[in-house]
């Protein structure tokens, strides 16, 4: 990936700035990754159509992308995009959708577009709630997550969207976060070149609503960075060697209150201790040590620690999960029409 001056991308691809996104929103990161992917592949804007539905993610292309974009109704962007693609198969058709939009109200369109394997690149921005309408629970809200409609915890389980779309038949499926910009950009490039339905889920920070969801006290200005670091802390990448030199201590009280006693208890091991945010456990203590098993045993009888978690526990897997070939819908459709035409005139 060649990196050019940000100004170059702005002038070439973005209609006007600043965007109306909240300060620290992940949408800007995704817009950035998308236009870099287009530029790297030298795909001219006039060959791109962006379709989006309702929600904050829908605003990534419309009104900011300086090519064609169609802003449609809640959850239906894929249906509109399928129509456009069928009519003009040379279009690079890209759908920007959110978790509420694409997995909630539009979930049916998502699985059927994947099943058809229609050549559309879908970028699903997952902020785990309905951000635009005020942070209500979504089909991606983590179990127990705090939202405005589940003030004491979400009783429902979230979708695993990449598994869902993969089993529905998509030929390119990946999941990244807004922390993983390089990987995300590479993934968008692969998706744009895939002849079939491509799906990229991007875990994205929503500093406006996720502070409640993840229980992030502290100032709002530090929230975006903390959520990004949380994404790094709570994920691992498929196929990459896993580090096994750390543990998490989940405290009964605030981590600050427990920090001292953990430090004292483990003083013999000389570990590096750090308080981190974790999507599954909240604010916890990370213990870096080479003597993992001994530390684990040692922490067992510490009253202040509710649980000791292994590095992988509660983590979300990132990476490219599906990369395969299957007949593409529009191509097949046109082949059938042509075949029928030949027969009709041949008889």
């Amino acid at each position: 990936m060649t990196v050019k001056n940000l100004r170059y991308y702005r002038e070439k691809f973005v209609r006007h700035l600043p965007t109306r996104f909240c300060p620290g929103c992940g949408n800007g990161v995704i817009l950035n990754a998308f236009v870099r992917a287009l530029d790297d592949l030298s795909i001219p804007q006039e060959r791109v159509l962006c379709v989006s539905g309702i929600g904050c993610s829908a605003w990534i292309p419309n009104p900011y992308f300086s090519g064609d974009s169609l802003h449609t109704t809640h959850g239906r962007a894929l249906a509109f995009a399928t129509g456009a693609k069928v009519y003009n198969r040379n279009l690079k058709t890209v759908v920007f959708t959110g978790d509420g939009d694409g997995a909630g109200i539009g979930g049916n369109h998502l699985i059927h577009a994947a099943r058809r394997n229609v050549e559309i690149t879908t970028i699903l921005v997952n902020n785990m709630n309905y951000g635009m309408t005020g942070g209500q629970t979504a089909p991606t809200t983590l179990y127990g997550g705090l939202t405005t409609t589940t003030p004491y915890g979400n009783p429902e389980n979230p979708f695993n969207l990449t598994s869902l779309v993969a089993s529905a038949g998509a030929t390119y499926v990946a999941r990244w976060s807004t922390y993983h910009v390089i990987e995300l950009t590479k993934s968008i490039k692969e998706a744009l070149q895939n002849e079939g339905f491509s799906f990229i889920e991007v875990l994205s920070q929503c500093p406006t609503q996720q502070r409640r969801m993840f229980g992030l006290s502290g100032t709002s200005s530090e929230a975006p960075q903390r959520i990004l670091e949380m994404f790094l802390e709570s994920t691992y990448i498929r196929g990459q060697p896993l580090k096994n030199n750390y543990l998490y201590a989940i405290p009964k009280k605030t981590p600050e209150a427990v920090f001292k006693s953990v430090e004292t208890k483990l003083s013999g091991f000389h570990p590096k201790l750090k308080i981190v945010d974790h999507m599954a456990f909240g604010r916890i203590i990370k213990i870096n040590t080479e003597r993992v098993e001994e530390v684990k045993r040692s922490l067992k009888d510490l009253d202040d620690v509710e649980k000791v978690a292994d590095p992988l526990e509660g983590k979300i897997e990132l990476g490219v999960f599906v990369k395969c070939e299957r007949p593409e819908f529009v191509k097949t459709l046109h082949n059938i029409i042509e075949r029928v035409g030949e027969n009709r005139y041949g008889v």
């Binding site: 309702i54 802003h71 109200i105 979930g107 005020g134 629970t137 405005t148 409609t149 589940t150 003030p151």
Partner: protein, 415 residues
């Protein structure tokens, strides 16, 4: 005064006054009613209703089952299922949410399920707009729902209590839609007189069912394994038409049931609204007819014009479905000029939806006013007092000319 004696209850007690915006007024009233099931999906400007209500649920203040469904279509479908099973169900939506429910609105009314739904009226896309006009509710005009329109949060609160008794009235059995202007009402805080919880509970009492012929003899109109009935089956050329006429009849009876329930509520609360609300029309020469929050602004303009000696008046239509034709004709028959305010367009039609109804109501009448139509405030554009004053000046001109030259005038729009 707060009397809890034989005379009933007239509430002007400050202890029962709350600062509520329209959405909160809905949520608070529904909390007091405590329906069995609430199913809803977030959409601006209705979201506060659902958020507040889910807080009540989470805090254990109501025993309602609250379902965060995946779309508005599912929200109303869940309510239909719940009501068919004999529960009380409530939902709230706006604009495109109501549009997505459109299929189910017809099912709800034709299955005769008295669901109550609050609609924070918002302009329909596209282009996308989240602010107030009436295009959403007017799109559901013919779906067989009773439509109540509110001017302020107080009316919203009261309607959310009365609606259950109206819809569940054994002569009616129809769903009720309560319309409150998005943002103008939904997000604006006002003083609202509330009723004590037990008074509301006593007033709405338990859901009443009508008797129908079931498989094993007479049965209540609800799904009960003990007395099975079949709901919503195939109904073709043989009986569909007759069933539709039953809905027509139910709407006609609602015209009688609504004032009846309203009078009972008035005895309790001191507040009654009836079907239409005329203001300074007795000796009026120029009268404006309209729906919703704009009528609050209009009443201010009417008072100001009266001070200047202009004989102005207004009629607020509170119940739009069933349309209160007789009351309207009686009230407006001797008025020289009437201006009808529409906050929606029926594209290609000669008039806005409300104006067409008003004109139809007067077609058979010998004495009828000149009727002008003003379309205003689309997509949340503000309708200011000076605009309404301008409308009255237009009515004055029409009166002096003795005819209406322009079928529709669009007010507050760029040339």
């Amino acid at each position: 005064m707060y009397e809890d004696g034989e005379k009933g209850l007239i509430v002007t007690d400050e202890r029962l006054m709350m600062g509520l915006n329209g959405d909160e007024a809905v949520a608070y009233a529904i909390k007091q009613v405590e329906p069995d099931v609430v199913a809803a999906y977030p959409i601006t400007p209705q979201t506060i209703i659902v958020e507040r209500f889910s807080e009540y649920v989470a805090n254990g203040l109501v025993k309602t089952d609250f379902v965060s469904v995946e779309s508005e279509h599912s929200a109303l479908s869940s309510c239909i299922g719940a009501e068919a099973a004999g529960a009380r169900a409530f939902t709230a939506t706006a604009a495109n949410g109501l549009a997505l429910m459109w299929e189910m609105t017809f099912i709800a009314s034709s299955l005769r399920l008295p669901i109550v739904m609050a609609v924070a009226n918002r302009a329909l896309s596209g282009p996308i707009n989240i602010h107030n006009d009436h295009s959403d509710a007017m799109g559901a005009r013919d779906s067989g729902w009773i439509q109540i329109w509110c001017e302020n949060s107080q009316e919203v609160y009261d309607a959310c209590i009365e609606a259950w008794r109206i819809g569940e009235h054994t002569n009616v059995q129809l769903p009720v839609m309560i319309n409150l202007d998005g943002f103008t009402l939904s997000h604006t805080m006002e003083n609202v007189f509330t009723l004590p919880d037990d008074v509301v509970k006593n007033f709405v009492r338990d859901r009443r069912f009508i008797k129908v012929k079931g498989h094993l003899g007479e049965s209540e109109l609800r799904l009960d394994p003990g007395t099975p009935i079949t709901m919503g089956p195939f109904d073709l050329q043989d009986f569909y038409f007759e069933h539709k006429l039953q809905q027509v009849e139910a709407m006609r009876r609602a015209l009688e049931a609504i004032p009846e329930v309203d009078a009972e509520y008035e005895a309790l609360s001191g507040r009654g609204y009836r079907l239409i609300h005329p203001y300074m029309v007795d000796d009026a020469e120029l009268v404006i007819v309209g729906l919703g929050s704009t009528m609050g602004t209009a009443s201010y303009v009417v008072e100001k014009l009266r001070e200047k000696g202009v004989k102005a008046g207004l009629v607020k239509i509170r119940v739009f479905r069933p349309f209160p034709k007789d009351e309207l004709v009686k009230t407006l028959r001797s008025i020289p000029v009437v201006g009808v305010l529409d906050r929606a367009i029926s594209f290609g039609a000669p008039n806005g939806p409300l104006c067409e109804e008003v004109k139809t109501a007067f077609y058979e009448e010998k004495d009828r006013p000149l009727i002008a139509n003003f379309i205003h405030g689309l997509g949340g554009r503000d309708t200011s007092p000076s605009m309404i004053e301008g409308m009255f000046h237009r009515l004055m001109k029409i009166k002096s000319r003795g005819r209406v030259d322009q079928l529709i005038e669009y007010v507050g729009v760029r040339e």
